[in-house]
């Protein structure tokens, strides 16, 4: 249908996309070279670490044999297991509370049209620009001045503060293109604003909430700078434990531990991507 009307000299894909000019071979080569370098710098060090973890003797590359014994050693180190569990709990709490704060901050900023809007959103974003070590030092100074012992709640608050820009930005970006009429439609069928939020807005914001949870979890799980100032002895997180261990020992066990972390992060990202799609949306 309608094919006869199309100009035969100007074939077009059926979805109406415009075909761009074909790039030159030199450009394509350059593009692949850049990509290759990128992966080399990003992944090669990790590859080295993974390889070292299989080395029976020492932290040396290339490995001089193959063993999985360092992985078994992980289970013999209660300090590390304890630290991993502490990190998990902390990261999960940070993810849930931080994302909740981020969602409400973004919703609030959207409805607030006052003169302080720019200042508030700038403030929420500031942890992106201020080095985390300064935020941590400031918090440390405060609790020191107030005479409070370092405890998990201060640590949690600090983790939330430094990761807050990510959920705020994610949710704000989605709200930016959000059709207000979807909420209004809920009001017209009798929903109060709170019911409209729960039944329409929040379910639709899932697309930015779930990625926020994942990214905040990973950032908190990996955080060293803030934790080193504010963690008390009961809450030695995994990065702190690794660092502490490395001061005295330097054996492939550390590489094995790191490999586990790399794999865990990758699996987490992969599963989440399958569940909700973290990458750019394909239309």
């Amino acid at each position: 249908m309608g094919g006869a009307l199309d100009d035969a000299r100007a074939p077009r894909p059926r979805d109406g996309r415009v075909i761009l000019m074909r790039p030159s071979p030199a450009f394509i080569a350059l593009r692949y070279a850049t990509l290759a370098l990128f992966f080399l710098f990003l992944l090669a060090p990790l590859g080295v670490l993974v390889a070292v973890s299989f080395n029976p003797t020492a932290m040396i590359f290339p490995p001089q044999g193959f063993t999985l014994k360092w992985y078994a050693v992980i289970l013999d180190k209660p300090d590390f297991l304890h630290a991993a569990w502490a990190s998990t709990k902390l990261a999960a709490l940070t993810a849930v509370l931080g994302t909740a704060c981020g969602v409400f901050a973004a919703l609030g900023l959207k409805n607030y049209g006052g003169p302080l809007k720019g200042a508030i959103s700038g403030l929420l974003m500031s942890p992106l620009f201020i080095p985390a070590v300064i935020v941590a030092l400031a918090l440390f100074q405060i609790i020191f001045t107030l005479g409070i012992q370092a405890n998990v709640w201060v640590l949690l608050a600090a983790h939330i503060v430094v990761t807050l820009p990510y959920p705020v930005r994610n949710v704000m970006a989605q709200l930016d293109g959000f059709d207000q009429r979807l909420e209004e439609a809920a009001l017209t069928v009798g929903a109060t604003p709170r019911q409209a939020l729960l039944r329409v807005t929040l379910p639709l914001l899932r697309a930015s909430i779930v990625p926020s949870l994942v990214i905040v979890f990973i950032l908190s799980w990996n955080n060293y700078t803030v934790s080193v100032f504010l963690a008390d002895k009961n809450w030695t997180t995994l990065p702190l434990q690794l660092r502490a261990y490395l001061q005295y020992e330097y054996e492939p066990f550390v590489a094995a531990m790191s490999t586990v972390l790399i794999v865990a992060s990758t699996v987490l990202l992969f599963v989440m991507d399958r569940l909700v799609g973290l990458g750019p949306k394909r239309k």
């Binding site: 979807l182 209004e184 809920a186 009001l187 109060t192």
Partner: protein
């Protein structure tokens, strides 16, 4: 009984006056269209009736109750949005059932009423689809079902057909009207399409720049508009400006005389207008009718128009079967009765 009563409603956005003391009554069961160009305030008025905007001044009554201060969710209205505004994460069924769920209606009754509403718009087979899996026309029907399932006191429609293509739009017009009749729903329909307004409505409100220019039946609006604006907006019109002579003749500046369809005060400077189909082209005689020059015939398939030059204006005249065909450049006389616009209101 008036189902909707709008009394002196104004709406100010900063220093822009979107609505200026609008007063309007809508009868129970009536289908009323609000017609006007974009920015005339018609959507704002509809949103004020719905409670999605608050008026700066004035009152809104629905079904005999003053609702001016009531929030949307207490007003018992059905609203259909221009882009349908269906919830993309919910099935067709859940889109329609949401309002009932919020009212804590029993599961069994929800099921019956949603099925009934979907049957009314012929979508009962697609209840489990997501909105994205439906065509534009189907989405439109879901939006309608969502609005009527609650048995609202009034149905408010904000340009609901403008997102559809032309053929579908005409089908939906027929369906919408029969649905409204079946349910006996008082409806307010906002549109910028004058044909849509004329063909669907019991009464039409023509708005311009935040005020109501005229309210009337489609026939009144089309045939006896009160202002030049209304005459020009609801159909094609050719305007004549002149001085009334002897009560029923309009003397134009160039000396031609146009008979008036209704008497006007002698000596008044008024404007009158004719529709293209009211004019008959004739060979000039010495009757004093406006004289023009025939320019050409435009063929549209189902009909044709003459183009006639009248002084420095070019006007269209409907060609009727059996009319004489004139030669290009031939002198013609325009035989017509012009309708005077509200005397005084349109002084030259």
């Amino acid at each position: 009984m008036q189902q909707i009563r709008i009394a002196g409603v104004s709406k100010r956005f900063d220093d822009y006056l979107a609505l200026d003391r609008v007063t309007l009554d809508v009868e129970g069961g009536e289908f009323l269209s609000i017609l006007g160009p974009s920015g005339c305030g018609k959507s704002t008025l509809l949103r004020i009736i719905a409670g999605l905007e608050m008026p700066s001044d004035g009152d809104v009554h629905i079904a005999g109750k003053r609702v001016t201060g009531d929030p949307v969710w207490k007003r018992e209205i059905g609203f259909v949005f221009q882009n349908f505004a269906l919830w993309p994460h919910l099935s067709v069924f859940r889109n329609v059932s949401m309002g009932l769920e919020l009212r804590k209606v029993s599961k069994a009754e929800i099921d019956t009423r949603v099925r009934e509403a979907l049957r009314l718009v012929q979508l009962d087979a697609l209840a489990n689809r997501l909105p994205a899996q439906l065509s534009g026309g189907q989405q439109q029907r879901v939006a309608l079902a969502r609005a009527v399932v609650l048995k609202p006191k009034v149905l408010l429609l904000d340009e609901p057909l403008s997102a559809l293509d032309k053929n579908l739009r005409q089908d939906m017009q027929v369906e919408l009207k029969s649905l409204q009749r079946t349910l006996g729903l008082t409806s307010i329909f906002v549109t910028h399409d004058q044909e849509e307004a004329l063909s669907l409505s019991d009464r039409v409100v023509v708005m311009n720049k935040g005020v109501i220019e005229q309210v009337g039946t489609p026939q009144e609006i089309y045939s006896t508009p009160r202002t030049e604006y209304v005459a020009g907006f609801v159909g094609e019109a050719c305007f004549f400006h002149g001085i009334v002579e002897g009560g029923n003749v309009l003397r134009l500046a160039d000396g031609a005389a146009v008979p008036l369809a209704a008497p006007a005060p002698t000596g008044a400077r008024i404007a009158a207008f004719v529709r293209p189909e009211w004019i008959k082209l004739e060979t000039p005689s010495n009757g004093g009718a406006p004289a023009g020059v025939f320019e050409r015939l435009i063929y549209f398939g189902q009909s044709s128009d003459y183009l006639v030059r009248l002084g420095d204006r070019q006007i269209r005249v409907k060609h009727r079967d059996g009319d004489r065909v004139f030669a290009n450049g031939e002198a013609v006389a325009l035989n017509c009765k012009a309708w005077p616009l509200a005397a005084g209101a349109q002084a030259l």
